[in-house]
Amino acid sequence: MGREVLNGDAVVLWLERAAEVIGENEKYLTELDAAIGDSDHGANMARGFTAVRGKLAGQTREDIGAILKTVGMTLLSTVGGASGPLYGTLFLEAAKVAAGKAEIDRAVIQQSLAAGLAGIQKRGKAEPLDKTMVDALGPAIKAFEGAEGVSLAEALARAAEAAHKGAEATIPIVARKGRASYLGERSAGHQDPGATSMWLLLRSLAEVAAE
């Protein structure tokens, strides 16, 4: 099966799935953050996606841009911390690309992700290998672009897998951005929480595309 375009229902399905997965992984994300941060990434993301779920209920599904904008605004106003403005920006930038669209295809998805990454980097000034969520999203976009001649579901699955690898690859890195950077050398040996939550979001997206 699988879908080659995502309509508003699929996008909402993805976000609901994402909220569930974030909820299930709240403790895990918090534990990752406890090691090199301040033990709140799980709670931050769970609070944000619980709010997103609440907002989606009353959301019309004709305009995917509008859905993504709601998500971005909701994350911005509920997550807080470093991840709030960054995930907020990701969705707001993606929303601009998807504005007015009832369906998004592979090209639009690719543009949305790229715009989101650019927004994150503009806001947070992180470069690849600074040990941040960029290290999951960056490789994911590359894998997605490189996945030619396969289904959307397969391309997104490869993107998610690249995000997973990217998150794992943050383990040996000494952080240079965010709160983990205060630990200096002690930040090495731990997986970045934001890169991990980014991977979980992309994995949910791939799953929905495959259904």
Partner: protein, 333 residues
């Protein structure tokens, strides 16, 4: 986790409700989005001073809302920066037409959320200035980090900027003064025990019975390094030496010495540290002209101490001495 707590997600909201009924003459609480403003906000024609950050550092910032200090405080969840909408609404609520100074501790999350709020405020025609506090000398190589963290000097910036605003100084003046305070303040801390973020439910890190974390922040995160527990005098030296060398503080200068408890350390011990810090400062030829001792910028129930030294000039001392009426700092009124 042993806390006086109902649901962790209600903690900040319930504490704000407590502040509202405990200090009705001082402040008003806005529930959604969450912020506190001084009872008479906005004060027409006066520059407003606003700060915010994660909760868990009390009395910072809510305890400093009132006449002569903060016009507003925006509390995030525990150790989580507040959100742009929260900051924007608080900025609107306190703007008296003369602009709003945002006092921001240098953490990625705080910086980004305040930045977005300031952009939004600008669109609404509200002039804002940001004073970034980054006084933690434990973060040595700021090239490879998000820069130095903002810690103890934040309290001093808030007091001094608040007094300058109360005295009718302009937005540019208050911001410039705040930056000068930040440039002349240096801090460092150690932790004897971790703290427990209510949502996480267990301590942020583990420490052996004879270990301490040196160069700790205020978010329960581990410090720059772990070391063997030392005597109070030795610990005080370990904090004072990097502070003194960093500015550097030169003989003959006047300083404000601030010994801050991180939450779980008894006042008795803070005075033991103050005594030694005062002695070290004096030995370096510094004149301690003002003092502050107590838990003012905390990390929940963490046991530990931070020391802040501020090289003061006449203007800073004058504004430090000016009347202040908040839940946590009060004099002259």
């Amino acid at each position: 986790m042993k806390k006086l707590l109902n649901a962790p997600s209600d903690l900040v909201k319930e504490a704000l409700a407590g502040m509202a009924v405990a200090h009705p003459e001082l402040l008003r609480v806005h529930v959604d989005p969450a912020f506190l403003v001084r009872a008479d906000a906005p004060v027409r024609g006066k520059v407003a001073v606003l700060s915010g950050g994660g909760s868990g550092h009390e009395p910072l910032h809510g305890g400093f809302v009132g006449r002569g200090m903060l016009d507003a405080a925006c509390p995030g969840a525990v150790f989580t920066s507040p959100t742009p909408d929260q900051i924007l609404e608080a900025t609107r609520a306190v703007d008296g037409g003369a602009g709003v100074v945002h006092v921001v501790k240098n953490y990625t999350g705080d910086v980004m959320n305040f930045e977005m709020a300031a952009e939004l405020a600008r669109e609404l025609g509200i002039a804002t200035e940001t004073v970034l506090v980054n006084d933690d000398v434990a973060v040595e190589n700021s090239l490879y980090t998000a820069g130095r963290r903002g810690v103890g000097t934040t309290v001093l910036v808030e007091k001094i900027c608040g007094a300058a605003a109360e005295a009718g100084r302009s937005l540019a003046d208050v911001a410039a003064l705040g930056r000068r305070v930040n440039e002349h303040g240096r801090s460092m801390g150690i932790a004897l025990t971790p703290c427990t973020v209510p949502h996480a439910g267990k301590p942020s890190f583990e420490l052996g019975p004879d270990e301490m974390e040196v160069g700790i922040g205020i978010h329960g995160e581990p410090g720059r390094r772990r070391a063997k527990l030392e005597s109070a005098d030795r610990i005080t030296e370990m904090l004072m030496d990097p502070i003194l060398d960093d500015l550097p503080f030169r003989s003959g200068k006047d300083v404000l010495l601030f010994v801050n408890g991180l939450g779980g350390t008894p006042l008795l011990e803070l005075y033991v540290v103050f005594r030694k810090a005062h002695e070290i400062a004096a030995a370096r030829g510094l004149r301690v002209v003002r003092s502050l001792v107590g838990p003012y910028i905390t990390s929940l129930e963490m046991a530990g101490v931070s020391i802040t030294l501020l090289e003061v000039d006449e203007e800073m001392v004058r504004y430090w001495d000016a009347p202040v009426h908040t839940a946590a700092l009060r004099w002259g009124v």
